[in-house]
């Protein structure tokens, strides 16, 4: 986990000390990066030139350094942390299976995966139901 904003590392230290550590009763357990000229945000396409800040961009990067997924929100709406974790678990499952398994809509750990093959073409309706796309 890495977090990035245009604030200086000194402000990160103060935010950890005066607010965040009080929310979790310990120090923030990941590196808080400072991107004061927005250069990293520009590299990732989520820097807002007009406001001079990063928008709420979230990127999942695999062990090879490839981007597997991203989400970008405007500032007033917060992220769904559980959804980020669910997506990472899904990408990990696919990677561990060496691409032999795929996670259908609404998949979460324990739910059915699909094994893509020529026989599955046109036959997903036999093995997977729409209700599985929704939470129980």
């Amino acid at each position: 986990m890495l977090s990035v904003s245009v604030d200086s590392v000194y402000v990160h230290k103060m935010w950890n000390e005066h607010e965040l550590s009080k929310m979790i009763n310990k120090d923030i357990p990941f590196a808080m990066l400072s991107d004061q000229d927005g250069g990293i945000g520009k590299l990732y396409g989520i820097y807002d030139d007009d406001a001079g800040v990063e928008t709420r961009g979230r990127f999942i990067i695999d062990p090879d350094g490839n981007i597997q997924g991203f989400e970008v929100l405007t500032p007033p709406v917060g992220r769904n942390v559980n959804e980020s974790i669910r997506q990472i678990k899904a990408f990990q499952l696919v990677r561990d299976s060496k691409g032999t398994e795929a996670t259908p809509a609404g998949w979460k750990p324990g739910k059915q995966t699909l094994k893509p093959s020529p026989d599955l073409v046109g036959n997903i309706w036999k093995v997977w139901k729409v209700e599985q796309a929704f939470d129980d």
């Binding site: 990066l33 590299l43 990732y44 990063e54 928008t55």
Partner: protein
Amino acid sequence: MPEEFKPGCQRPPIKKPKPEAGVTSDISAREDKKEMVKVGKAAPDFTAPAFYNGKFMNTSLSEYKGKWVLLCFYPGDFTFV
């Protein structure tokens, strides 16, 4: 490995990746930089000053090769969401 740096009276310097040979810095090249990254493609590497474990460290994305990384941008410290 991340290297620790001492706090000074200046902002910590921003380390820019070296421009690749042949890359021009005209307007069109800069416009290209604003493009969204693509899924399935390499995440752009970067090095930036960071606060971690009570220390100030220079941190690079490439140090996390071999691990899953969740990279989260946000509008600013002390904002509410």
